[in-house]
């Protein structure tokens, strides 16, 4: 089944707002689902079209397992960030990921695993528990310092120097084997806002 290409709505286009020459601008991004409704918990990121910006691995990131759920469900980390998977449940878990971004498994364990898992490639890793099918979590590994998440409102990407960027958006509702949606934006000094529409599965 061909998946429709994500695109920007022409009506909204890119409204780039400039605030002074030397200053950085803020890009606020609204992510909508296939039905046009704003999606919370969507992850947006900006990557410069040319080259890459240096990123620092994050520290003390953990995805806990409690009440047979991963928490948080969606975690955004920079490349090279080690993530710990402390098990707060009384039962053991078998955490795995078959995602190309990071394939691993933590065989049945209790408490905190001996070593954290380092996510060294950008992409989305879907985590599951082999013995609790209902458990699912996503770790979005970004290779840029500019990323944000939507909440009740748009995601705010602040302090972005002007220039052309690849704006990417991702949401757990996207099919597992689909890469984040990307679009090109050019930022000036003015604040801008952008809207992305994701080909999510329409779920109630």
């Amino acid at each position: 089944m061909p998946v429709s290409c994500p695109h920007l709505f022409p009506a909204f286009g890119l409204a780039l707002l400039f605030h002074g020459l030397a200053g950085a601008a803020t890009l606020s991004v609204t992510v909508n689902d296939a039905a046009g409704r704003p999606l919370p918990d969507a992850v947006v990121m900006l990557e410069p079209v040319s080259g890459r910006l240096p990123v620092k691995p994050m520290t003390a990131v953990e995805v806990r397992q409690s009440a047979r759920q991963f928490s948080p469900a969606v975690t955004v980390v920079t490349v090279g960030t080690p993530v710990n998977f402390p098990n707060h449940d009384t039962v053991r878990h078998h955490v795995y990921s078959f995602s190309p971004a990071k394939t691993f498994e933590l065989k049945l364990y209790a408490g905190v695993p001996a070593a954290p898992v380092v996510f060294d490639k950008p992409g989305v890793a879907v985590l599951g528990c082999n013995i609790h099918d209902q458990m699912a979590a996503w770790i979005v590994v970004v290779d840029t310092p500019h990323f944000a998440r939507t909440a009740a409102g748009p995601a705010q990407l602040a302090g972005i120097p002007p220039g052309p960027y690849r704006l990417k958006a991702w949401h757990p509702a996207l099919p597992a084997d689909m890469a984040p949606q990307a679009t090109m934006v050019t930022l000036g000094t003015e604040d801008q806002s952008a809207t992305m529409r994701l080909a999510t599965r329409v779920t109630p």
Binding site: L127, G128, N130, M135
Partner: protein
């Protein structure tokens, strides 16, 4: 008695459309009508039920098929789900090694018996397959995917390689949906057989490649030879297969782009109706049994009803035929028929009693207890018939009491009855031989039957019996301290000497009896001469009529002279018959006969008319005479005699006083009351009346006193012997004195000589008649004789000579 006879009678009765056959037909008819109605109703219900049941089973089959397919799908889904959840499989998937993935799919498909197994990506594109050629399934997969949008398993039936397949699509999660596992089974014979086992329906899966293509049978529970008929079947028409009619239901299982799948559910109508048919057969058998039971029952009932009725009918027939002796059977039943039989029985006994009573009344005399005339007549008939065969003879002795009316009148009817009883007793006890039948025929008439007589001496024997009866009657009967003299007139007749049949025999005996009564000469044997109805008397009667009509009769007059003056004072009118062949017939030869037959009345009228005519002539010749005319018993009993005489008086213009009517004592005594009535009327007309033959009868002085008579005529037997017999002379004298004492004129008959004349004159007798004066003279001569006599006896003198030669000698 044959045991089967009642049944035969019943059957015979049936063929007559009797009550019995009507009962049987009614019962059977009603039963058959009810059975026919229920049979039709049941048949209709069965048909409806069968159709409903078939339709119901087809609907149920529809549900069952879907359920079975669903179960299959679930099984498949479970298998596929297991595969999709397999960690190793998921690991292999992560390896992106398509060959490995394909081998895993093949391996797993084999485990659960799937012939199709493939892996699809999240966009439902084929990623790996265990079998080649699954590309054609792609449209079906997308359709399945639409239904699997909520990441749930889905199933679908598709046509693959012209065979129906059941496909399932199961999501594969790691843990989110990372792909889909597709598995498929062919829908095959085992499933159909399951259907057949569970529902007793036949199932055929029909496939066609596209909407307008030819249906083809993919799999069927029907035998192969039925398949062509199935494929030729047009929807909505009754399905006709080689083994009968089927009801069918078409269930569309799939209408995909690769082809359509339809399940045809079929139910054999015959099979569905079979249990009902058995039920119907059972009902038919029950009906047959019921008919037989009803037939037997109603025949028995009809017999129970009709047999006693027939018995009653037979009894009624017997009663009608006069058999009152056979008692009725079946009287002890407690039902209505029993009551009827009892009523019949009472009727029978009542009729029998009445019959006996009637017989008694019919054949027995209630007063004397003797057989009556009818019984006697029957006995005579029987006796003559018995005698006819045995060559014997029969005699009847008949007797009639003399003067019984007189006894009745004087002493009363009660006494008369006692007398009859006494006579009956005496007859039975003393007079007859043992075995002779004594009967009371009528009033004072009795008869005795002497049967089985020897023809050689039958007359003598009969006369002996008659004589004995006569003697028995001679002795006086003592009744209530009163001695009554009885006597009877007895007649005897014999069969076959005097009569050929019973009635004739009886009437001949009666004739003999009346003759005896008339002549007072004891038991009389029948003789044809006695008999008014014999051929001899019949011819005499004819001749006598002829004599009257042709003037063969002559009037004779015998003069009556006054004893004191010797003058002719009158004459007695007498009759002579101048027979053309026999000459002058004496009165004794025809008068009794005329009296017996009643013809005497004609003669009396003739004499009276002639006397009237003669009187006129004499009167015209100057003679004032009284003419006497004799009246017989028959005349006295003739109520119209006075009118007839009066009419003649008027016609001939003669006075009644010119005639003296002479009546014998016995004529009066036969029926004194009626005689007296006639006499009084005659007296009223002015006729003089005279008692003739006085002294011979039994007339009492009491009667004499009551009778309106003017004259007594002393019987000539006294006068004739008066000169020799002193007693007779005394009687004559007494009679004359008696008559004078009663104020009557006395006439003496039979004066044949002068001594008698003188004697009578001395006794003061008033008139005399006799040969001494004159014989009876023809009327013409009488006038001459009278003239001459008168001329000679101008003075009172004694007539001295006989007048026959008209010579008168004077003393």
């Amino acid at each position: 008695m044959n045991r089967s006879e009642p049944l035969m009678q019943t059957l015979k009765g049936m063929t007559r459309r009797s009550l019995g056959v009507r009962i049987v037909l009614l019962f059977l008819g009603l039963l058959l009508a009810v059975q026919a109605v229920s049979f039709i109703a049941i048949r209709a219900t069965i048909d409806r039920n069968a159709r409903t049941s078939i339709a119901g089973s087809l609907v149920a089959g529809d549900h069952l098929l879907h359920r079975l397919l669903d179960q299959n799908a679930q099984k498949l889904i479970q298998g596929a789900s297991l595969l999709a959840a397999d960690y190793g499989f998921r690991s292999a998937l992560a390896s992106h090694d398509n060959d490995t993935i394909a081998s895993v799919l093949a391996n797993h498909g084999d485990r659960i018996g799937a012939t199709v197994s493939a892996l699809l990506d999240t966009g439902f594109a084929l990623r790996a397959a265990a079998q080649p050629g699954l590309e054609e399934l792609q449209p079906a997969i997308f359709r399945l995917a639409e239904r699997a949008a909520s990441a749930k398993p889905a199933s679908e039936i598709v046509v693959l390689g012209r065979r129906p397949f059941q496909l399932v699509l199961v999501p594969m999660r790691a843990p989110v949906v990372v792909g889909w596992v597709l598995m498929g089974f062919p829908i095959d014979r085992p499933l159909m057989d399951d259907m057949r086992d569970l529902s007793s329906l036949h199932v055929s899966l029909q496939v066609r490649d596209h909407a307008k293509g030819e249906w083809r049978t993919a799999v069927s529970t029907l035998p192969p030879e039925a398949v062509p008929a199935l494929e030729a079947h047009v929807a909505d028409m009754p399905l006709q297969l080689p083994d009968g009619e089927y009801s069918s239901r078409q269930v569309t299982l799939s209408q995909g782009s690769t082809g359509e799948v339809t399940a045809l559910l079929m139910r054999s109508v015959d099979e569905a109706v079979a249990p009902y048919r058995r039920l119907q057969l059972g009902l038919a058998a029950l009906t047959l049994l019921g008919v037989i039971v009803f037939a037997v029952g109603s025949v028995l009932t009809a017999r129970r009803v009709t047999t006693p009725i027939r018995r009653l009918a037979a009894a009624a027939e017997r009663l009608g035929a006069g058999d009152y002796t056979t008692p009725l059977s079946g009287r002890h039943r407690a039902d209505e028929v029993g009551e009827l039989a009892q009523s019949f029985e009472r009727m029978r006994m009542n009729i029998a009693d009445q019959q006996q009573e009637i017989l008694k009344l019919a054949y027995w005399d209630t007063l004397t207890g003797l057989p009556n005339r009818v019984r006697f007549r029957n006995a005579v008939t029987e006796a003559t018939e018995a005698a006819r065969t045995a060559g014997r003879s029969v005699a009847v002795v008949m007797l009639d009491l003399d003067r019984f009316k007189h006894v009745n009148d004087v002493l009363g009817y009660r006494f008369g009855d006692l007398m009859l009883k006494g006579v009956a007793e005496r007859l039975v006890q003393q007079a007859v031989r043992g075995g002779d039948l004594v009967a009371r025929l009528d009033g004072d008439e009795f008869a005795v039957l002497l049967a089985d007589l020897d023809p050689a001496n039958d007359q003598a024997l009969a006369q002996a019996v008659a004589q004995r009866i006569n003697q028995a009657m001679d002795r006086s009967l003592t009744l209530e301290d009163q001695a009554v003299d009885i006597s009877a007139s007895i007649g005897v007749a014999l069969w076959p000497h005097h009569a050929a049949d019973t009635d004739t025999l009886l009437s001949r005996a009666e004739v003999a009896m009346y003759s005896a009564k008339r002549h007072r000469d004891g038991p009389t044997l029948y003789d044809a001469k006695l008999d008014a109805s014999s051929s001899q008397t019949l011819s005499l009667l004819t001749e006598l009529r002829h004599a009257v009509d042709h003037g063969e009769l002559r009037l004779y007059l015998q003069p009556k002279l006054g004893l004191d003056t010797a003058r002719v004072v009158g004459a007695e009118a007498l009759m002579r018959w101048q027979h053309p062949q026999r000459g002058l017939v004496p009165p004794m030869e025809f008068i009794p006969f005329a009296e017996q037959t009643g013809f005497v009345r004609v003669l009396t009228m003739w004499v009276f008319e002639q006397a009237a005519r003669e009187w006129k002539r004499l009167h015209d010749n100057g003679l004032q005479l009284t003419l006497s005319v004799n009246l017989s018993t028959r005349d006295l009993l003739d109520q119209e005699l006075p009118q007839k005489f009066e009419a003649l008086l008027i016609r001939h213009t003669v006075p009644a006083e010119a005639f003296c009517l002479e009546i014998t004592e016995s004529a009066i005594m036969d029926d004194p009351e009626r005689a007296l009535g006639t006499l009084e009327r005659l007296n009223g007309l002015g006729f003089r009346l005279s008692i003739d033959d006085f002294g011979t009868g039994y007339s009492s002085l009491a009667y004499l006193k009551r009778l309106p008579v003017d004259e007594l005529k002393i019987d000539k037997s006294f006068v004739l012997s008066m000169e020799r017999d002193l007693d007779d002379a005394r009687i004559v004298r007494s009679t004359i004195d008696l008559a004078h004492g009663l104020g009557l004129t006395v006439v003496a008959e039979g004066v044949e000589n002068a001594q008698a004349w003188e004697l009578l004159r001395a006794l003061h007798c008033d008139e005399a008649q006799g040969f001494h004066m004159s014989r009876p003279l023809p009327a013409d001569e009488f006038l001459r004789w009278s003239m001459l006599w008168t001329a000679r006896h101008a003075q009172p003198a004694l007539p001295a000579g006989s007048g026959s030669d008209i010579t008168v000698t004077l003393h």
